[in-house]
Symmetry: D2
Subunit: 336 residues, 4 copies
């Protein structure tokens, strides 16, 4: 099988590394407009071939799929061309820069009867999958609320806010876990360093089931935090991606109804029971993700992080950004 | 000097302990409606005298000040009576259950020419004071944003939401540090366990200077978090009250303007420099607070956490609660 | 029942507090040579009576037991007098300053048919007890080795080395868990600050069963460490007493025999499985300890930390100190 | 310049990666007896050439230096042959399996007037270098003691004890910092899993200056620890290599002479002052090490981790192993 990776900038090389190291005998073609990047890629991955011309990729009938790791603004047009050429498409997150574009991509995939998969890598990571299993199996009980922090001293982007840069991760995890669309999103943020590009945002989501979520994303933070707390009726879970060993901790929680001290009174008291940190496989998420894409192509199957789920993430990003620009006014997602 | 502590329930004994252990030869009278509580207090603090009758306190001309540690709903009327009897008043936080009550208390103190101090204990704690000095001295540069978490598996209150129970701490710290009134507050919350009493809330504040803040408070959380991050233009600060030794860390932060890789481009890159955890005195905040109250009485001085600052905290609590009940709609504080 | 606490210095007040707060209606007499200390104790614990004269304690037929919290060098003579007066004795750790003295105390208790209990408080703490149960039930499998650190920036003692000051804790835990006497002890140490009084020591123990242990104790250390790792054949356990919540963690451990890569070769690979931090009751060890002493008196029962076990600890302390003074030469305990 | 890497097993590829990525246009030849390993290396590093025959390396006059990453038992003979062929030699740690071999290597290097450098990589790591500067500049004051832990659930070696496998790291750091040879070493250990091969060891060292050190190394441990505490008269330092950001913390420490409470008494009390975690460059130690080797060749300079220092490490390893087999009897190093 032959596959093309388009974009050999910041992220592309990770995809090339993953694809070339799979024991599947893939032929990998790398496409970029910058000859120097191609030369670098070729030096590092001896087995690849390269091209400066995307049309060459589209014209090659042996290439079954394209993997897009280009700037967000190019995702839609590159994907539409690929579908027109009957290629399957894997596109990095966020899938597109607007709801309209994302919708067009989903429609094009359907029409072309080709697979559209979005690079929500975290959905393929062992801790997120374990949490998903626990949530689905009602191990945690009904979910009350979720708190997410994704902050660090990061590189400022010059063409996307911190919402579009960091929040696709959290939103894809959140929607993957809860399997429902938020009904309302509000966001407060600020462009601390570079005018016009928010680099910190506090985002709140309300879901039809009652679940609420608080997301904090920032490129400016004293220390790196990657912490998600899921509070359920029966158990609670903390997923800390900066931990090496105990990435997930499950807190068994018991309610204690204390005897009333006075008649008419009662006290609800909670206690933490045992804490369990389950062993997780340490397979690289990117590897699982790429294998899943290839398998979906082979079996003609819908991928887990398909176009529809990518579209939901874009919808939420768009709502958050709109709320932010409205000074935190909640934006409803029902009608969108 | 003679002083009365009113309320010997959950918090009162801490105030009694502090007052009786000060080397000032204070005469402490304790008042509570429950004879059993008074008996317990007397057994533990041999030197105190006790009474079931608040009027007795008011009528005793030797008692100069009352310390109120009673339920929030009683604060206002007890304080007004005390001012009418020409006593100074120390009242636990939150100062009152409504803006109106808080305003009445401030007015009564002014009219009676007596001191009104609010128990914003954290303003007297060494880490908060150190942070205050750093902020005031512009060591951190202009403040960009503040993130605050105060969550744990706590006792559910039956007469107050988590906002009125936990957030007075964060708000008093925030207003103390920033010295400005928030212009807008929004809050999303949920009553997970007991109907009608929110036990988790995510609150966002916007300040006229541009600072934004995210506060998360919850009685339901897998682990206790008491973490505040202050991100400034020059330095950042983390105050973690669950840490025993390194409660405060100051992150020296440098901006690196990388050379553009292509003409027309530039990249903002931040780096963390040295991290310093300053030594802090380990004086008990409650002791500093009580000494401050007594000194203000002696010198006829305005206390740091005076009625006006208590009123600001109540205003913010009230706005947060209103926003929460409006589904997160931002509530403006300018006109309040 | 009437009981005497002898010594109202650094540690005594904790014992007085515990005894007076037990709901048993104990009459507590406190004895100390320093009138000021007695006055302080009386001010804090209104219900006690006091005396400057130990003989008065001995002569009072209503006093059934004495609790000794005096300097180590006085333990033996005070205990012997108490036994002669037919009192039960609780003595703080270490039980005595020499093996000879400890042996005399054990003999006197036997002769007087009175209870001798040693204040190895950690044996009554929930984490140590939980670990004991796990070890006894062979949950961890055969124990391979134990590593213990007890270091912090502490107060220098002027009459005892760090070995006699800090190591009774670790040794009593170790002997309690393993139920065997070490066959060999070696120690290296140094008197960094005050001449002649070692303030840091590294001690190694070898047990007949094969278990080896490494103990590090120091009054000079950058941060407080209270960490014990127990490595067994099936599981491992870490007990970190500076942790608030997860004091004990149990590591499930699996051996994986990897397939040989070449014939003739094999690879042993270990992996960590789930990690469990069990919920522990948070009863104060001192309370459990005192209740145990009183119960043993009432029922005429041998206490868990009896004179024999106190003697074993002294034997080990003595051997460690001898090895230290011999430059680390291993000292055998069989013949002692 | 042309250079040969001998051994393409577990560690060799890291050296090949480093050498081929240096911007020096090095020609790298890789030698191994296993054709499959060579094929793998060639696939990964396109620019290298390979050979099965070490003699070919020796015979190639263009090859100036050999880098040995072969099993310990082969180090000596390969190095002697290389010196005979007038090559410079970089040899992985430990330099040799015996003092005799190490001495022969040092002698051969001297005779051949070629450079002999030992792969004590940690000496080139930013945290170890920073600590070295602080120690040399007397920032910490006189060193009192050093405590080192290097434990984790590791792969069991089948031809070397944990002492020869893990302790070269600690010993090279220790000798590098202190610049003196230990006068006495004692070790207690155990072969828990595989008969005859100790997998845990507790090692104590005494230095002529008075410094003592405690080293704990184990392949069996619940969690990975890489912690070194250096306690000096003025400051203390903790180097924790498992920390991502705060690898080094420096504790400013003050002595407080409290006023005597009674005449004749005094109390030494220490306190921790500010804690500083300095920013460290995150250059890869292996890169610095390889560059240093190449520079020493170019300038005819003695490397920092030269044969003599490698020999000292082997001496200490040998003494530790002897003590271990003698049941912990201290072994003197003066006469060795």
């Amino acid at each position: 099988m032959k596959i093309a990776v388009v974009g050999a900038g910041y992220w592309g090389p990770n995809l090339i590394r993953t694809l070339t190291s799979l024991p599947l005998g893939l032929e990998v073609v790398v496409c970029d407009q910058d000859p120097e990047r191609l030369a670098k890629a070729k030096a590092r991955f001896a087995s690849i071939s390269t091209t400066l011309d995307y049309q060459e990729i589209l014209a090659d009938p042996k290439i079954e799929a394209v993997v897009l790791a280009t700037p967000i603004s190019t995702h839609c047009s590159l994907a539409l061309e690929a579908f027109a050429a009957k290629k399957h498409v894997f596109v990095e997150k966020p899938m597109a820069g607007s709801v309209k574009e994302a919708e067009a991509m989903v429609a094009a995939a359907t029409k072309a009867e080709r697979i559209l998969m979005v690079g929500h890598t975290f959905e393929y990571s062992p801790p997120v999958r374990r949490a998903k299993e626990l949530i689905r199996a009602k191990e945690l009980g009904d979910i009350y609320f979720i708190s997410m922090m994704r902050v660090n001293l990061g590189l400022h982007q010059k063409d996307a806010s911190v919402i579009w840069d960091l929040m696709p991760h959290d939103l894809s995890i959140l929607l993957h876990w809860l399997e429902e669309r938020p009904s309302r999103i509000s966001a407060v943020g600020r462009d601390c360093v570079a005018g016009g590009i928010p680099d910190v945002a506090f985002v709140n989501l309300t879901f039809p089931s009652g679940v609420i979520a608080n997301l904090e994303v920032a490129w400016l933070a004293p220390s790196k935090l990657r912490r998600i707390a899921v509070v359920g009726k029966r158990k609670m879970l903390v997923y800390d991606d900066t931990e090496n060993i105990e990435k997930i901790k499950i807190y068994d929680q018991g309610v204690e109804f204390n005897d009333p001290e006075d008649f008419g009174e009662f006290q609800l008291s909670y206690r933490t029971g045992d804490i369990v940190s389950p062993r997780l496989p340490n397979t690289e998420p990117l590897k699982i993700e790429m294998e899943h894409f290839l398998e979906c192509i082979r079996l003609g199957q819908q991928p887990r992080s398909d176009g529809a789920s990518g579209l939901e993430v874009v919808r939420a990003l768009d709502a958050a950004e709109r709320s932010l620009s409205l000074g935190g006014l909640p934006v409803s997602l029902e009608e969108s």
